[in-house]
């Protein structure tokens, strides 16, 4: 079983690695030319070469005192994005998947919150508190902690390291590796795509998978590939920021996770209809 888990982990690490490589390779590599990404050649121009040593606050005719002119590049922005806030029909639960950020263009504090609410109580939730830092034009690295809470089970705290961004061909990716005490490890990967049927009617395929390095019987999670979910949501953007949707979500458990579920008398896979709201502000 342990070997199996390692196999899965290795596979995923390769997959993530390949993806990143693909990101780099796919960047318009025309022979010796590269239109995106890459690293500066040794003879690249010095962007300060024309300054004669002057700065925005020093040198002739500079306004006295601290620099007054600050533009949006030094401004703090924030946003809340509700990717999924939905009712799942067969499990009769409400699922939320929210992300908020606060910061600048290249450095931001990020919160990701996901959870299930059923019968008026929070059944389980997973919250990431992360420091995001721009890795390249399209991806941020994210470093922080993840807090998992289970209504029936054992809460877990993880250290988190991930990347989130936009891959070539417009795939939104969010991949993170987690480490917890007792040698627990986990990997979570999410991918989304937005297919514009019209300017406002948008079909969003979505995939998510979870892997664990170790069995976690308390929470019914087995090592190796634990679960995959695939969703297809059709939303109508009344405004870009407010879009109700309907969709279908298929979820399946694998390996020991599936065994745990069978033992508990639960289904190992499920397809259900969802209806919800996507929003941001």
């Amino acid at each position: 079983m342990r070997r199996n888990a390692m196999k899965y982990l290795t596979t995923l690490v390769f997959a993530v690695g390949a993806l990143q490589t693909n990101t780099v390779l796919a960047q318009m590599d025309h022979g010796d030319m590269q239109m995106q990404g890459g690293s500066a050649p040794a003879d690249a121009r010095d962007p300060n070469a024309y300054s004669d040593g002057y700065t925005l606050t020093e040198g002739p005719y500079a306004q006295p005192g601290p620099r007054q002119l600050k533009l949006m590049d030094e401004h703090i922005f924030w946003a809340v994005l509700g990717d999924r806030l939905e009712y799942q029909e067969s499990s009769e639960s409400t699922v939320y998947d929210l992300q908020g950020w606060y910061g600048t263009t290249y450095n931001r504090f990020v919160i990701k919150a996901e959870g299930d609410i059923a019968d008026g109580s929070l059944e389980e939730s997973s919250t990431d508190l992360l420091w995001g830092n721009a890795l390249n034009p399209y991806f941020d690295t994210q470093l922080g902690v993840r807090i998992d809470q289970y209504d029936e089970g054992k809460d877990r705290q993880w250290l988190a390291l991930g990347v989130q961004g936009l891959a070539p061909y417009w795939f939104e990716l969010d991949v993170a590796a987690y480490v917890a005490d007792g040698g627990r490890t986990a990997i979570k990967a999410e991918a989304e795509y937005e297919l514009l049927l019209t300017q406002r009617l948008i079909l969003q395929p979505r995939a998510e998978l979870n892997l664990y390095g170790k069995d976690d019987p308390d929470n019914g999670l087995g090592s190796g590939l634990s679960d995959i979910s695939l969703g297809l949501r059709l939303r109508y953007e009344i405004t870009r920021q407010f879009a109700p949707y309907i969709g279908v979500e298929w979820a399946g458990a694998y390996g020991d996770t599936a065994d745990y579920r069978r033992e508990a008398g639960n289904k190992t896979s499920d397809t259900q209809f969802v209806a919800g709201l996507r929003f941001w502000f």
Binding site: M28, G31, R45, Y50, Y54, L56, L69, K70, L166
Partner: protein, 620 residues
Amino acid sequence: MTRWLPPPRQPVQFSRRRFVQGLAAGGVLATAPAFLRADANAATALGSAPVLSGREIDLVIAETPVNFTGVTRMATTINGSIPAPTLRLREGDAVTIRVTNRLPVATSIHWHGILLPYQMDGVPGISFKGIAPGETFVYQFTLRQSGTYWYHSHSGFQEMTGMYGALIIEPRAGDRQRAERDYVVQLSDWTDEEPMHAFSKLKVQGDVYNFNQPTLFDFTRDVSTIGLKAAVEKRQMWNQMRMNPTDLADLSAATLTYLMNGTTPAGNWTGIFNPGERVRLRFINATGNSFYDVRIPGLKLTVVQADGQDVEPVSIDEFRFGPGETYDVLVEPSDDAYTIFAQSMERTGYARGTLAVRPDVSAPVPALDPAEWLTMEDMMGAMNEGGMNHGGMNQGSMNMGAMDHSKMDQPQTHGGMAMDHSMHGMQQGATNSLAKPSSSVRHARSEYGPSVDMRVDMPRTNLDDPGIGLRNLSQRGLRPPGHRVLTLADLKSIDGVLDDHRAPATELELHLTGNMERYSWSFDGLEFGKSTPVSLRHNERVRIILQNDTMMTHPMHLHGMWSELETDQGELRVRRHTIPVQPAQRISFLTTPHDVGRWAWHCHLLFHMDAGMFREVVVS
């Protein structure tokens, strides 16, 4: 607005049509306090801003309620009107302009394109401290030039919320061109959103205002007309690079109402003429973020001035201009009515007015053109042209099918040029002379980080491209045969305008950069806060090369000195204060800074400037 009509009733329902067309009587509300209103005795043209002239002028900046769309919003105005009063001054005059700030926040006024001491240039934090609430700042300078200019706030987003006006300087020697009528046609735009809110939205989703995006149905239509393979290839490179071929403007009619002399399309600003008269139209693009494509169906436009400086008259049918640019055109109307039609570059809306013999007649309003996808030329410059077999390019990895196809869609007007350019590139390596601008691309070290989403390695240097959406209009059946669109190559300063013919002593190269996904704009990948000033020597002739490594056109405005555009052969062409640089284009201009001090240099798309495509220039 000078027609002080009572405020329109609030519509019960929000109407999309009303939003785009605007209210016929939209503008500054009559409820504005009387002391803020412009001098009612000032000579005004029908529906235009009031006119102030003389050597001493008082301007008061305050908040004024406006209603362009059916919703009342607070604008920042100068003397209570939108546009602000037209200042008619005289070349050679020493003027005193007192600007009083009645806003709760600091403000400023910048005299766009005017040569003056840097302390009078009106950029807070660079030329002066700004004008604090309640304070009066006295601008004093002598007018060393003549022509059509404009003025606007240089603080925050105040320009977008109403602070712009025309500035006409009458030449001492009289105008070169005779005209019986003289109208300012100031094009602007208005959003009911707080500009900061709109900017924040772009920060979350760069295409939030783009409703012309490629869809699945566009794809299926392409499949049925050009086949699956071509349809896939047409999209391949865009999708691979995460670039949007419809990314023509950051804002659109989804939030903007387009205005002509502060008047909505429904309001139809009208300029009156008598048949047989020659009419001078002073077009000023005072928008925050919109390029306009301007034409008057049925009339030839003779361009006589660009950015206030006389050019050799050139007869055209249509021109594009971006925020900050001005063009003076002469027309000789003979029919009863003509429509002045200014559609925005991304083709979601238009500003419109009328030239007519009487106020009660108008002409048909043309339909908007379809939005055109950017081409490979816009993304990759000359790489898409004849010069393909140059350099160590791996053709296998280039998407030949897609390129051929894009050529089929948009036949190139200058197929042979790219080859020439790449040959110049080869020659350049051998000689080190500054007679011609260097053509070897040198990206800055800071262009390889998160701030830059693409770089162009083989830029195009041709000036004869009217730009996306304006290419081959006659062939595409969108305009009558022979329709001519103005390009930079058509503009030549009239003899005597360009007075410094020295070869440049130095050459600077800077790249225009950005990241649409993060919504950040910069020079050389460095936003303003991370940048250092560009230092120029007083009175030294210098060449500045600007290469656009983005897919948008940037109107680049250098304060305090002229930008004298040259060809890629080093031939001096035209004096400007704002030069539009097209996607994947590399242009160069010469300048001689005659005034010491610190000056601003920035993209005049207000959101790009505020995002950081802004540099300081030190002249010492």
